[in-house]
């Protein structure tokens, strides 16, 4: 197991820090070029199987942990790999000398809590585009991208919608579309008239939301009979589906200009998502949705059931609502309920969906277009932007800690009192391991930058708590003043995952292998 763990961690180790080395992964197909990676999680993901079943078991254990951190936090996988490897190796050495694995695990986990408390005390809230840009630069080491991310997250906050798209030029660009939009295009391209970039737009619009298929133009007649005398001339229809006669009816009316409707299907691919989006659009526009399950039909709809918005638009892929006439109190309540659910859910995918919904309800979004000289450059920069953006949400929500491994180094202070009076050898060993391990990220950053580890670490210690190694300037600096930060939620995730997983791995006593294991090349 130890061999497999070390193989994966040694492959990831060079990627830590602002001057990372690149790892080349040979392709599955021999005629393809090697993949050049600097993301620990993706490197681990590409290692599908190691020779030797026991080695492979160890490798897969850490591989899954790293991918989980990548999905939850978006950053920190290299640090997690290094911490895990160091704890595991030191732990194995101690256990070989006769230590008790279960007691060691328990003390490692107790030490972890102290480290987490210490990190909480170091957390600094981050505000303003300049500070956010510094955090982003610590994450992506790309000053231009960091500047855009700083500006974007200053505006959209922790929940705002950010779409990262490949751009057409060589540079980056940002846009802030008005209002909220969803992935669902207009049902009839005839209304758009022009090219695929055309969009239909209506002003002072009423909004009908129903989860039924509109079968016939007759279904809409009772509503239209109420609308015309009330001078309602524009409608957004969000429904489950439309028959061809209904589409033709809406197109004909659009062309006549007497009554214009933008019709879209309910966004979302599964019923739960669709219901959530219906609910959100209803709250944003003040509409009362018409649900099939409640026995409501379109012929019973009243004008008062319709929501309203100042503007509505749609193109072939999206539709949007600008300045919906929501009841602000209902909107606040809805947002507060979603926030509570988002904070409570342990499921990363569910949390992401709730964040997307919150972003739309807060009324804005940002688009970051990534340009570059080659497709490969655009692709890798886009991936980097996505990863950094995920970690930035954590920074906006929960703040940052001194970066470059300094926060972890400073956590050594929390373990010192326990090291002085341990009850037994297992306890002393556990805290000793953690104490040593907390300086490995800083040591690795220095080593990856090609500097002398011993001299630099000694200087950092000598100059004080906030001092660390700025690999790009090659100097020991006050990392807070210089703007070198790590996202607090990322560091917490890394510490929790690395220590608890390594402590658990140390308790493995027996490995059982299948006689004929299934082989897979699924990356």
């Amino acid at each position: 197991m130890q061999h497999g763990i070390n193989q994966i961690c040694d492959a990831i180790r060079p990627t830590l820090g602002p001057l990372p080395r690149v790892v080349a992964i040979s392709p599955v197909m021999s005629n393809k070029t090697p993949e050049l990676l600097d993301n620990g999680a993706v490197i681990a993901r590409r290692i599908v199987q190691l020779p030797g079943r026991s080695s492979d078991t160890g490798a897969m254990l850490i591989r899954h942990m790293l991918w989980r951190i990548h999905e939850e936090a978006g950053d920190g996988t290299a640090t997690a790999a290094i911490l895990f490897q160091s704890i595991y190796n030191l732990g194995v050495r101690y256990l070989t000398a006769g230590g008790n694995a279960m007691r060691l695990r328990s003390f490692l986990e107790r030490g972890m809590k102290l480290i987490l408390n210490e990190l909480d005390q170091m957390t600094i809230p981050v505000e303003g585009r300049n500070q956010l840009a510094n955090v982003a630069e610590s994450l992506c080491h790309d000053p231009e991208l960091a500047k855009y991310l700083g500006e974007i997250f200053d505006i959209i906050g922790d929940c705002g919608q950010l779409d990262i798209r490949p751009g057409y030029g060589r540079t980056l660009g940002s846009e802030y579309p008005d209002g909220s939009y969803w992935e669902q295009g207009i049902i009839s391209r005839e209304i758009l008239g022009g090219t695929e970039f055309s969009r239909a737009e209506l002003q002072n619009v009423h909004v009908l939301i129903c989860d039924q298929k509109i079968e016939s133009p007759r279904d809409l007649m009772p509503l239209l009979e109420q609308a015309m005398p009330a001078n309602v001339r524009s409608l957004l229809i969000v429904a489950q589906d439309y028959t061809d006669p209904v589409k033709s009816f809406l197109v004909a009316n659009w062309k006549r200009g007497v009554f214009q409707a933008i019709a879209v299907k309910i966004p979302g691919s599964v019923p739960d998502d669709q219901r959530a989006f219906m609910e959100d659009i209803a709250v944003l526009t003040g509409a009362t949705p018409i649900y099939k399950a409640t026995g409501q039909k379109l012929d019973t709809v009243h004008l008062s059931d319709l929501g309203q918005a100042r503007r509505v638009w749609a193109n072939v892929v999206h539709f949007g609502v600008i300045a919906g006439k929501a009841d602000p109190l209902a909107l606040r309540q809805h947002i507060s309920n979603l926030r509570a659910r988002e904070q409570a859910t342990p499921d990363a995918d569910q949390r992401r969906k709730l964040q997307q919904r919150l972003g739309k309800l807060l009324g804005g979004s940002a688009t970051l277009s990534i340009g570059g000289s080659t497709d490969l450059e655009i692709k890798s920069r886009k991936e980097l932007a996505g990863r950094s953006a995920q970690a930035m949400r954590g920074a906006v929500r929960a703040g940052v800690v001194p970066g470059g491994g300094v926060a972890l180094l400073n956590c050594q202070a929390a373990l010192k009192p326990l090291l002085e009076h341990p009850d037994d050898a297992d306890e002393r060993a556990a805290y000793n391991i953690l104490h040593q391990v907390l300086e490995t990220p800083l040591r690795t950053i220095i080593s990856n930058a090609g500097s002398d580890v011993g001299t630099v670490v000694a200087e950092c210690r000598h100059r004080g708590d906030r001092y660390g190694w700025d690999a790009r300037s090659g100097q020991v600096v006050d990392v807070v003043e210089t703007g070198i930060f790590d996202v607090a939620t990322v560091v917490r995730s890394v510490v929790t995952a690395a220590i608890s997983s390594a402590a658990l791995a140390l308790t493995v006593d027996v490995l059982v292998h299948h006689k004929n294991p299934e082989e897979t090349i699924q990356p």
Partner: protein, 307 residues
């Protein structure tokens, strides 16, 4: 006491920063925009150069902080913002996004000459920003959960803090990035709408439509209300002394009374009362905030009064 040309509703008053020398003031009224060059004694209409077929109701007006040099005036009307660079003689209209928004409030950055930032609040369409002295505008409503903006207040240290506040029909919002995004302030929303705002350092004053004045000493985290029976009224305007809080003087425009506080809102005295149940809509203290300093007062149906 002097009548305007039309004794209709006065929505807003704005005075020259060098009023003591030039006596210039502008009044936004239902019947248009008026200018006075004699401290408010007489008023002349300013839209003549536009040759309008009918009156143009003007909901708000604001003068550049550097008015004596740049003579720049902005006026908010239904559908857009009018800009004049010659003290109101000629105007350029900038239409905002369709459907035409009703601009209810305008404010300029204290550093307008350099940053060119103009802010506009609207009914139904939220908040607009121009970063080029009013030539181009765009909406910035991220986090603004209520798009009916009634008043704005800009931090005097805006150049560094970029902080501004927006009072709306249902609450109070704060921006720390020049209005590009908003976060709701912990204001008791049952007391909204908020009609007037003033801010100095961490001290925030919010005047409500029916529940009087609210004061926060911690940028809106907690609120208190001054205890005074006459303050339980509509607060149409708040003026703080230029050097507040060193000089803790406050003037408050209620529905028919002007109240004065010499001690940052702890105690209040009646400064003036409008005669014959006249309703006050806005006011300006062009010579500073003192108990006896002259005031211009806009009313609902009696034009502008000098008090």
């Amino acid at each position: 006491m002097t009548d305007t040309l039309q004794s209709d509703i006065v929505y807003a008053l704005s005075v020259s920063p060098t009023f003591a020398q030039d006596g210039i003031a502008f009044a936004a009224q239902q019947s248009g925009l008026y200018r006075s060059e004699d401290g408010g004694a007489s008023w002349t209409p300013t839209y003549d150069s536009l040759n309008l077929p009918s009156t143009l109701p003007t909901l708000t007006v604001v003068l550049s902080p550097d008015f004596s040099r740049d003579a720049t005036v902005f006026a908010g009307v239904g559908g857009g913002v009018l800009r004049s660079n010659d003290g109101g003689q000629t105007w350029t209209m900038t239409a905002l996004s369709l459907p035409a928004p009703a601009i209810t409030i305008l404010a300029l950055s204290p550093n307008f000459a350099e940053d060119g930032l103009v802010f506009a609040g609207s009914m139904e369409d939220g908040f607009f920003v121009s970063a080029d002295k009013g030539h181009q505008w765009r909406t910035w409503n991220f986090g603004l959960l209520d798009l009916n903006v009634l008043c704005l207040a800009i931090d005097p240290d805006f150049k560094h803090s970029e902080i501004l506040f927006a009072g709306t029909e249902n609450g109070l919002f704060r921006s720390t990035n020049s209005g590009h995004s908003w976060r709701e302030v912990n204001f008791p929303s049952e007391h909204a709408p908020i009609l007037s705002l003033a801010v100095r350092q961490n001290r925030l004053f919010a005047g409500t439509e029916a529940s009087g004045l609210f004061i926060s000493d911690d940028s809106g985290l907690s609120w208190s209300q001054p205890i005074h029976e006459t303050l339980d009224d509509s607060v149409n305007g708040i003026a703080l002394a230029q050097t507040f809080p060193a000089t803790p003087h406050i003037l408050l425009a209620l529905s028919s009374r002007i109240m004065f506080s010499p001690d940052g809102g702890k105690s209040w005295t009646l400064r003036s009362e409008l005669p014959d149940e006249q309703q006050m809509t806005c006011f300006a203290a062009p010579m500073g905030v003192q108990e006896d300093s002259p005031l211009l007062v806009g009313t609902a149906d009696s034009g502008i009064l000098q008090l």
